[in-house]
């Protein structure tokens, strides 16, 4: 009987170890994802987002620069290019002096931003990284909304 109990304990322990191990392994190898399937916290125009950073950068940072806050942004395209890291960048023009530069993860299906040109209206999802010294609000892990 005692032997039986021992066997059960060992089997249960092994099972737990296997589950724990696979959770760790899954977390470790978790793929990088874009914002395509995320429910946006804020739905804004590029004008509105840029305007908030221009009027008070610290307030906008505190409100928008968070991994838990996702956006759906609509704007008018200024330029689209690919940077040295192979990331596509779609830049929205705005009514203020700021622009909104949206980057797409390299090697991921994010809706082909290269199809757009200056003047097109585009809707996309992404996360905000803040505003840089050239007054470009940077968005990351973006995905075109069809």
């Amino acid at each position: 009987m005692n032997n039986m109990k021992k066997k059960i304990v060992i089997i249960v322990a092994l099972a737990l170890l296997a589950i724990g191990g696979s959770v760790v392994l899954y977390q470790w190898n978790k793929p990088k994802t874009n914002a395509a399937d995320v429910k946006p916290t804020y739905v804004l125009s590029a004008d509105e987002l840029a305007g908030e950073f221009i009027s008070d950068e610290n307030v906008a940072n505190g409100k928008y620069v968070k991994d838990s806050v996702a956006f759906e942004i609509t704007g008018i395209v200024d330029t689209v290019y690919t940077n040295d890291g192979g990331e596509d960048i779609l830049v929205f023009q705005t009514k203020s002096e700021a622009k909104v530069a949206c980057s797409f993860n390299a090697g991921q299906d994010s809706g082909n931003p290269n199809q757009y040109k200056k003047g097109d209206t585009v809707k996309l999802k992404g996360y905000c990284g803040g505003i840089d010294m050239f007054l470009e609000v940077q968005m990351r892990a973006c995905a075109i909304v069809k």
């Binding site: 190898n29 990088k32 968070k66 940077n83 530069a101 996360y127 010294m133 050239f134």
Partner: protein, 195 residues
Amino acid sequence: MALLLPNALQNKIIHMKNLILLVVLTVSFQANAQKYFSKTAHIKFFSHTSAEDIKADNYKSSIVIDKATGVVQVEGLIKMFEFEKALMQEHFNENYLESDTYPKATFKGKGDFSGVNFAADGNYSVNVAGQLTMHGATKDVSATATIKISGGKIEGSTKFNINPIDYNVKIPDLVKGQISDKIEVTVKATLQPLK
């Protein structure tokens, strides 16, 4: 001689002269541009330990070099650094650099660029020293920057080491063996004259 020419022709000549002057001024102004910049500078963090190599890249960084004053400014948004693994990127942002609270890394320093002729091919080394601010801490850093001008393309780069402890970055004991106390920082940019 101008006096001998009819009025209309004289006016034309004056007009031409102005145009030439304008062209000459514009060209010389461009050749003497004092500021050089990039919006797509590459900042790389690299940590090497016997356990593993970890790399983070930000290809969306900003740099401005003012040749006249020697002032160099570099800025990278922390959340725009990309890691190979999603989990590493999460830890970097949430636990180590706390990017919700400290969204930027900035360097402001000075170097002597007076000997650099940005308008002709050449290679230069310039010592740059200043302050790096990251994760709410500011430290002095200095490094040798290389400027390479070839066929009109201006490439700047530098490399130096930082210690996470200097920037109050706490690394848990559990992963101490995986993250080096000497993080190699590389900055690379193709610079353009700022008009």
